[in-house]
Each structure stands twice: as C-alpha cells, then as structure tokens.
Amino acid sequence: MRGIHLLQNEISKIYKRKTFWIMLGILVAVTLLWAIIAMKTGSDHQNWQQSLQAQSQAEQSEIAKSDGDPEQVMDLKQQNAITKYRLEHSIKPLYSNTVMGFVDSSAGIASIISIFIVILGGSIVSQEYSWGTMKLLLIRPLHRWKILLSKFVSVIIIGIFYLLITFILSFIIGLIFFGKDFGATRFLYEHHNMVHDVSVFWHFLQLYASNLVDLIVITAFAFMLSTLFKSNALAIALSIAIYFGGSLILGIISAFNQQIPKYLFFFNMDLYGQYTNAGASPVDTTVGFSACVLAVYFILFLLIAFLVFEKRDVAE
C-alpha cells in the first residue's frame, strides 16, 4: 500500500512544478507544427498507383545496372518487393498528409519525449540533494530502495503518459487536419525476404512499445548517473549525448573492433525499427539478442544506482 503512496508523492512532485507543463506544452506545439509541415509539404496522391509503378520500374532498372555493393542491391530488392506488393494488393503507402500517415510520422516526436524524460530522470534524485530534502525522505521508517524505486517508476509513468498523449493528440490533430483522407490501414515491411502485411494499429503499438523500451533504458542510464554523481547536469548531458551521438561513438569503436558495438546498449536500441525497416537491419543480430543486451544493461544501471544509494552517507 505504501508503495502507491510513494509513487503518488513522486508524481505529485513532478506535476506540481512548471517543468512538467512546459514539456507538455512543447509536445502539443510540436505535434501541431508537424501537422502544418505535413499539410504544406504533402504531395497530392490521387494517382498513387501510377507513381508507384514508375517507382517500381526505376528500382528494377537500378538493380539491373548496379554491379557493385551487394548490400545496396539487397536494399533495393527489398524495397521493390514492397512496392510490387502494394500494387498487387492495392495498399496505399502511409502518406504523411493522411490521418494514419500523420500518426505514423508523429511517432518521431518520441525522441523529444526521451529528452524530457532523461531530464526528469536525471534530476529526480540529485534535485532532492540540492533542495536539501533528501535527508527528510531518508529519516522515514522505509527502506531506501523503496524510495529510489518509486522515483524511477514515477519517471517512467510520466514517460508513458507523454507517449500516450502524443499518440492521442496526433490522432486528433490528424483527424482535424486531414480528416477527409484517412489513409492506409495496412502497414508493410520486409523481413527475411518476406513481405509482412500487418494492421497499421498493430504497427503503431509496436512502434510505441519500442520507443518506450528505448526511453526506459536511456532513463535508467540517466538515473544511475544522477544517483552516482548527485549532479543532474552531468547525468542529463551524458545521456542525451549518447542518445543522439550514439552512432558516432559506434562508428569510432567499430573502426577498432567490429564485435564490440553490438554489445553496447545504444547499438541495440530502436528494437522495432531496426528489424522491420527495409535495409536497416543489422547484419548478425536478432531482436532477441538486442532485447537481451538492453535488459542486461537496464538491470546493471539500476543495480549500480540502488547499491550506491543504499550505502551512501547523506551529508550535505
């Protein structure tokens, strides 16, 4: 029972401050802006079948004349398989100026949410030190780990809330802006030389779940740093650097060793996108492998945070 009370405490300390509402405001503003951009730049797709046919031919001639990179050929073949499948089964692509297409493209806003949650997660422990309230929390008849856990879980709950809001908001804004054109209800992707044809809602669910997994892992990382160093600036800066600069770091490391990168957590993020988008899937890893690597890192981050927090002398 007291666990719920602790969550209530932590969540109320988040939403009773301005930061929470500013973040929410930014999410609404970005989604609106996104819709305006989609409306201005979105092409007319009355004759989508014709343009796809042209695209299919272009892809085929590209494959025929290309004699170099086998990876490139693979990509083109996968792309072409989807294009052909669309024409055969009359499945429209997810144009961003349709309702469904807009919902699909606004899932990219999740990276902004990740920044916000990293900011919250990277400061939720250290701020108690800087406010001088940590000692007031720790002189209660409770295990320290319960207090720390309630902090982590409440940040994740706020993350889920932001993701849900973005999804619902993008749907509503999509309806308002592009209501006439609902868009495709099927989503296609290529995997293991097979075209997969799934409901667009199943696609959304997986997309958001994958975003949530990334968010949880990167937040755990920020949370650990914040607990270790009692400094939110360091925790937030380092986590965001890894979140966005991860590919750069991977590039540098893989120049020395090809095997190390796949064991790093940020190599294995984007579980859904990596394994469903044509051409993006990594050579020798699987979804299961990536999920395991992420799980191990997640447990490691939290374990370090909890062990340090449990033992620490509170003196400031």
Binding site: R2, K16, W131, L138, I139, P141, H143
Partner: protein
C-alpha cells in the same frame, strides 16, 4: 525510574584516518529536553546523522525505542522525528501538501493528526500557502510539524535556532517546552550557543573534538542536586548549621553568601531551620553559572562561530 527512549553507546564515526566522533555514550529519557552543546565542527551533526540512520556507524550502537538503528533501521525510525540542519521543505508545495507528502511515508498517520500538528506549531493561517512564501521561523515550525506527524517518542533537532531572530527563538523555545510537557516527547537539541540551550534544556551534554566532555543538569528536578546560594545576615552560622544538620549538603562560603549543593526538596527544610534559628534570610537563588564557566573553559571562550 525514568524511562530511556534512546541509548547511544560508544558511538564512533571514522572517515579514513579522521575520527569525527569518538566513543560517545549517553541516554535520552522520556519527556526530557537534552541539550547537545559544542562548538561548530565538534561532531554534533555527525552524531545526529548517525542517530537518524543518514550516515553509517563505524562503531557503537544507537538504540531507539528498543530497536538498533543499524540492524532495524525501519523500526527504530518509527520512533524518531527530526530536522537535520536547515528545515528544507518542498518550496513549490504548500505547507499542507508538504505534510501530506510526509504523512504518506508512514503506515498509519490519520488526516486528523495533520490538523493537530499544525495547531501545535500554530501555522493554521498559512498552511495552505506555498512554502516559498514562508519566513524562516515559519519554515522552522513546519519542520517541527513534519517531525511530529507520527507522534514519535523523541525529536532530534539539529541547530534549530540557526538564523532565527530573538523573537523566533523565544517562540521556538515555548513551542518545544510545551511539546515536552504536553506530548511527553523527549527532545534532543543541538546548538553551539550555550545561552539558547540553557533556556530550553533540562540537561546538557557537551561535545568537543568528537568526544563527550561533560554532562550537566540545567533545570532542577526534585531528585537531582542543584547549587543554591543563600544570602543571610550570618553566613558563618549558616555554614555551621548545615554541617551539623544537613551533612549531605556540601556548603561553602562564596563572598558573603553560602552556596550549597542540595536536592530541591531539601530547600524548604533548610530554610525553615534557618528561620527557626533566627537567621535572617534575604534571598535564596539557584545558580547555573557553573555550566557557562565550564563551557567557556572547554571551548576557550570561542562560542560565537
């Protein structure tokens, strides 16, 4: 027999080569206000942090309400309320929301208890305002309110008078006295200023360079001895009389007064005897000077800062 609420035994804190607190032993009894006096940096805050489970204990024990803070911290902490250093609260929350926040961290503190503690610290009018609008004195009182929520047996207050103006200090003092009397709660209060401690406390322990150097009664109880000065017209006769009839009283001449170490209950007896012998008694005055002298001696007169 006074009931012991807190037992501190051989408490020691070492960080690396440095010994911050060394073999401190003392008890806190039910309903008493115990002062913890010492210059800054003597180890007062470290001791209190160990008592509250905020800092690990190198050696020794702290037992609160029968529970060892080392091994049964969660049980021991049910019996303590505290303020360590400044009474920091969540400034963006109202006083009431702050109290609700801490209420949720206990198993069973009813809502009515919040009203009670707010009344005790007299914050009824401001309790719905945000803490950032509070004066330091109000924050201090809110700090005491949060420490009282779960009706603890003992309050541990670290330098609660820091930064308060004289009227704030007086207010706090009255508040604490009332608490000790009304709720029967023991209060352990630290300060580097003797004058503040002296007014509030029943008993004072003095810490210096991490060691306890003295323990002294401040307020007289019926069973403990105290120093009393008799001003009469014939000091020699008084001395003589005391030696013959009250052999347990240690009497000595100080200027033209007779200073006697006696139990409180003996004072009327001695007085009656003196009057019967025809000695004129001009005044009977309890003396607490010795504490100040000893403190000055210990701290080298360096008691401000």
């Amino acid at each position: 027999m006074t009931e012991t609420v807190v037992q501190v035994k051989d408490l020691t804190k070492r960080i690396g080569q440095k010994t911050l607190v060394e073999n401190i032993t003392f008890n806190i009894h039910k309903g008493e206000i115990l002062g913890f006096l010492g210059p800054n940096g003597a180890g007062k805050t470290t001791t209190m942090r160990m008592m509250l489970g905020l800092t690990s204990i190198t050696k020794g024990e702290v037992i609160i309400g029968g529970h060892n803070i080392k091994t049964e911290k969660e049980h021991a902490l049910e019996h303590v309320g505290g303020i360590v250093e400044n009474p920091e609260m969540y400034k963006f929350l109202s006083g009431l929301d702050n109290l609700k926040h801490f209420q949720r961290m206990y198993k069973d503190v009813p809502d009515s208890r919040i009203d009670e503690v707010v009344e005790v610290v007299k914050l009824q009018d401001a309790i719905k305002n945000k803490v950032k609008t509070y004066s330091l004195g109000m924050r201090q009182r809110l700090g005491i309110a949060q420490a009282l929520l779960h009706a603890p047996d003992v309050l541990i207050l670290d330098e609660p008078t820091n930064g308060l103006d004289p009227s704030g200090i007086r207010e706090l003092r009255d508040n604490l006295r009332e608490l000790a009397e009304r709720e029967g709660i023991a209060i352990f209060i630290s300060s580097h200023l003797l004058s503040e401690i002296e007014m509030i406390c029943d008993r004072v322990i003095i810490i210096q360079k991490g060691k306890l150097t003295d323990s002294q009664e401040v307020r007289e109880t019926n069973t403990e001895k105290m120093m009393v000065a008799w001003e009469t017209d014939n000091a020699q006769a008084v001395l003589q009389l005391l030696k013959e009839n009250f052999s347990s009283a240690e009497a000595q001449l100080e200027k033209d007064r007779v200073v006697v170490g006696v139990r409180k209950e003996a004072i009327p007896d001695i007085n009656a005897r003196l009057v019967r012998e025809g000695i004129k008694v001009y005044s009977i005055e309890p003396i607490r000077k010795s504490l100040e002298e000893r403190f000055l001696e210990l701290t080298g007169g360096n008691q401000t800062k």
